[in-house]
Structures are given as C-alpha cells and as structure tokens.
C-alpha cells in the first residue's frame, strides 16, 4: 500500500512524457479529449492514490512515517544522496493539496483552455509541474527537494510565459524565474553550509544531527537564514516579492495552481520541514516572523490599490503567505500549515472564479470596467463571494479558523510590545478591505463598460471544480490536519476574550470600509491618490530593483559586450600590425630610396666614427 506513494509523482511525469512524446509518433495534433484524458487523468489517479494511502495508512496511525527508497542518486566521498521519499503527515497534507486541488484545477483548465492551439503543451507543463511539486514535498534530502524546487520554478516560468507571442508575458516569466533563482542560490549556499557542518543533506539525519550534537549555533543561524532566502524567493516574500504580481501574465488556472495554492507555499513547507533547525536559532525565527509581518502588511496595502483583478489576488496571496511566515516565525507550525491548506482552497477558488469572470468578459481584467456582474454570472459570484469571505476570515469560514490560530499564537509571542500581533491584526483589517473591495467592484454596484457584453463562459468541467472548492473553502476549517506527529503537541493558554473579539471584528470593519471605498471608487474610476499610486506600484520595489540592480547590470553588460579583456589581445595585434605597416612602408621598392637610406646610414656610421 505504501509503495503506491511512489506512483503519485510518477503518474504526472508519465503524463508529461506522453504528452511531449506525441509528436514523435503522431504527426497530427491530438484531440483535446485525448490530451485531457492524459493530463487530467494522471493527476486524478495520483489524487486517488494519495487518498487511498491517506485513509489506509495514515488515518489509522497519525505517527506513521513512510520511507520509499527508489535508487541511489549520488555517492561521492561522504556525499550520499538517494532518490528517496519521506512521507509523514506534513508531506501528506501537501500531497493532498497538490493532487487534490491540482486535480480540480486541471479539470477546470480543460474547460478554461478549450480551443487553445497549444492545449497539449499546456497540459504537459502542468503535469510536469505537479510532478516536480510532489517531488519537492516528498524528498527526503535537501538536494532532491531542491530538484523539485527548481523544477516547479521552471514550470512556473514556462506557464507564465505560456502565451509566448506577447513579449510582456515572456518578460514576466523571466522575471519570475530570475528573482526566485536569486533566492534559490542563497538556498543552495545554505545547503553547502549544512553539508559542510553536518556532512549530510538527508533531512531526518540533519535534524537529528542538529539536535543531538552541540552543533555550532552560528552556522545553523547562517544556514537557516540562507534557506529562508530560498523560501522568501519562492514564496514571494519581502524582499523578493516583486515577481508574483507580474506572474499573473500566465493563464488564470496556472495562477490558481502555481501562484496561489502550491508552488508559492513551498517556502512555508521548507521552513516547516526544517523547523527543528529553525528552533535552534532565535535570530532565524525572528527573521522569519519579521519578514512575514512586513510582507503581509506591504502586500495588503498594495492589494487595496490594484485595478487588475488578478493582481489584487496576487498581492493577497503574498499577504496571506506573509501570515504563514508570521506563523512559522512565532512557532505556530501547524497553524502555518493549516493556513496553507485553507489558503490553497479559497485562493484556488478565488482565482478560478476570477478566471471565469475574465473568460466571461472576453479577457478583460480591469475591475473598474466591471460591476454589477452578480446578475449575469451568479454562480461565479457565489463562488467568488465565498472565496472572499474565507480570505477575509469571516467567522466560521475556513480562513477564520486557520488565521485565528496564527493571531492567537502571535499574541502569545510577547516581545515587550505585541508588534507581531498588531501587524497581524492590522493585516486582517486590510485583508477585509481589499477582498471585499474587489468583490463589490466586480459584482455589485452599477454595470461597468465591459459588463454589458458579459456572457457566462462556465461549462460543466469548470463548474464542478468551483463547486467542490467552494465547499472545501467553506468547511475546510473542520479538516485541521493532525500534525502533532510532526511538530509535537503545542499547547498554549487561551488569551483574553477581547483578543478573540478584535480578531473577529477586524474583517467585519474591513467589510464596511470596503463597501464605502468601492462605492466611492466606482464613481471616481481609476484615479489614484499619490499614496494609492505608491501602493499600486508595490511600494516602489520594482522601481528600486530596476534602477539599483537590473539597469546597472544591463548597462555594464552592454558596455562590456565586446569583452574588455579581448581588447588587450586586440591591442597587441593592432600594435604589431602598426609596426609592420611602418616597416613595410620603408620597403617601397624604390632603388633610389634604398640608396638614400644607405647613404644616410653610412653618414650615421661615419658620424659615429668621427665622433669617437
């Protein structure tokens, strides 16, 4: 039964290979149905297998850890890496999210991408993504994790730039890959450091080595901070968050799968996976928490100012992952993973319903041209509203349960002044504002310019996933995963009632503010005040990086595109050529000139004789 787990990542890989290999055997493009069968089917079976293993193996025994050794990857000197999987409850939660939500999004994609000429390529990429993501979460050593880590980055790149004919998409894809690669490089250096210190990169071994030996705490601090660098890059946290809003150039289901539900949460997974190491270093923990708190606020405010429906959701994703980082930083490991899970449900729901909106409006994404859509696409409206409620963490939705856990834990985390909790609470208010603002702007109020030609584009393949996700988003709060086996039992006393009260009240206040804001904005249109403009631009990070890093680098590259070192050799060559032409011009073939030089030479010679 446990062996089935190995098939979970393998099936999407087979799907990918089949889809890629089709042109080798078959000259015509296969039908969409065939592609759907392979692409969606492979992930579906994976989801089924995961469910079977979860119920048969893990449900009975929460402490179960399954190790699957496939083959030895590398064995050089004392570097020993296996292609081995390590599945515990943490992994299982991720597996269920990836395969389950992934399957739903695949299904939805089959509807969303219908009649796209590159249908096959799309599903090939998507399957490869699922495979890489599964390897990421199942890896039992950090290098295999890194394999998945980079693999999902690649798929993200390919899918953001899926509609390659528009250069803007390509630029966004490139940006996404390179910004995350910066984090990945930090992470790679972290791996080197860990290997240098512990001589192993196997996660369980690392953890036991770090726990048992009086390991050097400075090295652990540096290493965990470097790993945090990787996590920050992949999860679009400060200061590497700038790629995610641009990544919305990809097809909307892609944004749902990669840039909301799964890949961007890989950083959270990484830190949760390595939590024993983080616990050894207070500095690293604080760093994680501060990064999370800052990001959730910054991204939240940016989300308020956006006008593109997908960018709002992108910033909200950054903000919500900020919550997860905050949770990690204060040691609420299971809270972070719980929020990761609920977030996967409701954010996937939000993106998919946003996709429906966009498709219904013929690829219009500006929320200021929408409005009053609840009459035209009621089903989408309901789904989107549920998503927004969860996102804002209205009571009794799934988002509420998970976020509440984080806030309470942050409250406990006194550092003299409850700044982390305050950030979280303020973030909750902001979340309420931006989520309902977009809901009201899109679905409520008067009809905008593009609302008139709205045509419900949902078909059954799209409705079913939406419905399931809506249910999950609403009731996912009941499904708190039993992660005690991984993180240990964490208990904390319940704080004062008013703390709970504030946490409940904030989204509601946000809702009210959002109503006012959306009313006002629907009148004023897209004009923005300076502060809004600043938030709209993502706090100027793009500008900063463009001018601080990208431009100088490009200019340097352009200046040096002829290779300055080559000029040394070219100079030498030019010098000898000059010398040559000088000498050869003296050899002009004129006998009388030779004679004159001969005479002059004699004169010189005799002059020497006379002088001496």
């Amino acid at each position: 039964m446990q062996g089935l787990l190995a098939w979970v990542p393998l099936l999407p890989l087979i799907g990918f290979l089949l889809l890629v290999a089709i042109p080798l055997f078959y000259s015509k493009e296969p039908s969409e149905k065939f592609v759907t069968a392979i692409g969606v089917g492979s992930v579906g079976i994976s989801a089924l297998l995961t469910a079977i293993v979860a119920t048969t193996v893990f449900w009975q025994n929460p402490g179960e850890v399954v190790n699957i050794a496939l083959w030895q990857w590398m064995l050089v000197d004392n570097l020993e890496l296996g292609f081995n999987f390590h599945v515990d409850w943490l992994t299982l939660v991720m597996l269920m999210i990836i395969t389950g939500v992934g399957f739903l999004i695949h299904l939805y994609s089959a509807g969303y991408m219908r009649e796209d000429p590159d249908f096959r390529r799309y599903f090939a990429y998507l399957n490869l993504f699922v495979c890489a993501m599964l390897i990421l979460v199942m890896a039992d050593n950090l290098v295999l994790l890194y394999l998945g880590w980079e693999g999902v980055g690649l798929c993200s790149y390919l899918l953001i730039g899926f509609w390659y004919k528009n250069p803007a998409n390509g630029a966004a894809a490139q940006k996404a890959f390179i910004v995350t690669r910066i984090g990945d490089t930090a992470m790679a250096i972290g791996l080197f450091l860990l290997f240098f210190e512990f001589s192993t990169l196997n996660i369980p071994q690392l953890i036991s080595a770090a726990d048992s030996s009086g390991a050097n705490s400075q090295i652990i601090t540096v290493a965990t901070l470097l790993l945090l660098g990787g996590a920050v890059g992949k999860s679009a946290q400060l200061p590497l968050q700038t790629w995610l809003p641009d990544a919305m150039a990809g097809p909307t289901p892609v944004s749902a799968l990669i840039h909301a539900a799964t890949m961007v949460t890989a950083g959270v997974y990484l830190i949760a996976r390595m939590h024993p190491l983080y616990m050894l270093s207070e500095t690293a923990m604080t760093a994680v928490a501060v990064v999370g708190a800052l990001t959730l606020l910054l991204a939240g405010f940016s989300a308020i100012a956006q006008s593109d429906i997908k960018r709002v959701l992108a910033y909200s994703t950054i903000s919500q992952i900020g919550y997860m980082f905050l949770a990690l930083g204060v040691g609420a490991w299971s809270g972070a993973i719980f929020h990761l899970m609920t977030h996967a449900f409701f954010k996937a729901l939000l993106f998919l319903s946003a996709g429906s909106v966009i498709l219904s409006l013929h690829h219009e994404q500006n929320i200021f041209t929408m409005g009053g859509l609840y009459r035209r696409i009621p089903f989408t409206f309901i789904c989107f509203a549920i998503g927004c409620a969860c996102l804002a963490a209205l009571p009794f939705t799934s988002g509420f349960y998970s976020k509440d856990q984080i806030l309470l834990r942050a409250w406990e985390f006194h550092d003299g002044f409850n700044s982390l909790w305050l950030a979280g609470i303020l973030g909750a208010l902001v979340t309420g504002i931006y989520s309902f603002r977009v809901l009201f702007l899109v679905f409520a109020g008067s009809e905008g310019s593009s609302s008139s030609h709205c045509k419900d584009a949902n078909n059954t393949v799209m409705r079913v996933p939406l419905a399931i996700l809506a249910t999950l988003a609403l009731f996912g709060g009941m499904l708190a995963p039993p992660l005690q086996s991984v993180f240990g039992t964490q208990t904390w006393e319940h704080p004062a009632a008013w703390v709970e009260g504030v946490a409940i009240a904030m989204p509601l206040i946000g809702l009210v503010i959002a109503w006012g804001l959306s009313r006002q904005q629907q009148k004023t249109g897209e004009k923005r005040s300076p502060i809004m403009q600043f938030w709209f631009s993502g706090w100027g990070f793009d500008w900063l990086y463009e001018n601080l890093l990208a431009k100088p680098f490009r200019n340097l590259a352009r200046l040096n595109h002829k290779d300055i070192i080559d000029s040394i050799y070219k100079g030498t060559a030019a010098f000898s050529q000059q010398l040559n032409s000088l000498l050869s011009s003296s050899q002009n073939g004129q006998i009388r000139w030779y004679l004159a030089t001969f005479a002059a030479g004699s004169i010189l010679f005799l002059a020497l004789l006379v002088a001496l």
Binding site: L583, S586, G589, Q590, I591, R592, L595
Partner: protein, 105 residues
C-alpha cells in the same frame, strides 16, 4: 724606386672621396638607368683609384692587383646590367628606375 713626382697620399684619397661622393649623388638623383649605371662606374672607379693610391703609397703590388679585379668586376657588372636594361626597356618601354618597384613591401 721612389717616385718623386707624387702629390701626396691625402690628395689622392681626397680625390677618390670626391669622385665617390659625386658618383653616389648622381646615383641618387638620376632616374635614367643608363645614367645610374654611369654613376656606378664612377663609384667603382673611385674605389679603384683608392686601391691604386694606397698600393703606391705602401709600395705594394696588391693595390694594382685589386684594381685589376675591380675592373673585371665592373666589366661583368656592366654587361649584366646593360642586358637587364635592355630587357627592362623592352618590357616597359621606359628607362625610368622608379617604374621598377614591384618588390615593395
């Protein structure tokens, strides 16, 4: 037997030098190959004069022996050179030495 009528070694050397320099000057300034050949003759002649004067001064027959060789050389050289001039004129229809510059670098 001493020969009393001689005007002195310096005078002879001086004359040889003047003749040689004149020949060299002519060689450099003329473009006509025939004239250049004549100037070459002047130069060789000056050199020969030098031999003879020196030989006479030291009372040695070697000076005149060398003179004989110089004359031989001059004869051979002129013969070859004139043949070349003929060939050159035949090809280029000119005696301008400046036209002969195909060996330039």
């Amino acid at each position: 037997m001493p020969f009393e009528t001689a005007p002195g070694l310096e005078a002879g050397v001086l004359l040889a030098s003047i003749l040689f320099c004149l020949g060299l000057a002519g060689l450099m300034m003329r473009r006509n190959i025939i004239f250049m050949l004549m100037c070459v003759e002047i130069c060789t002649n000056a050199a020969a004069l030098m031999f003879v004067v020196a030989g006479a001064h030291w009372g040695n027959a070697d000076g005149q022996v060398m003179f004989v060789f110089v004359v031989t050389l001059a004869a051979a050289e002129v013969a070859i050179a004139l043949a070349l001039v003929l060939q050159f004129y035949h090809r280029k229809h000119t005696v301008d030495i400046d036209q002969l510059n195909e060996l330039r670098g």
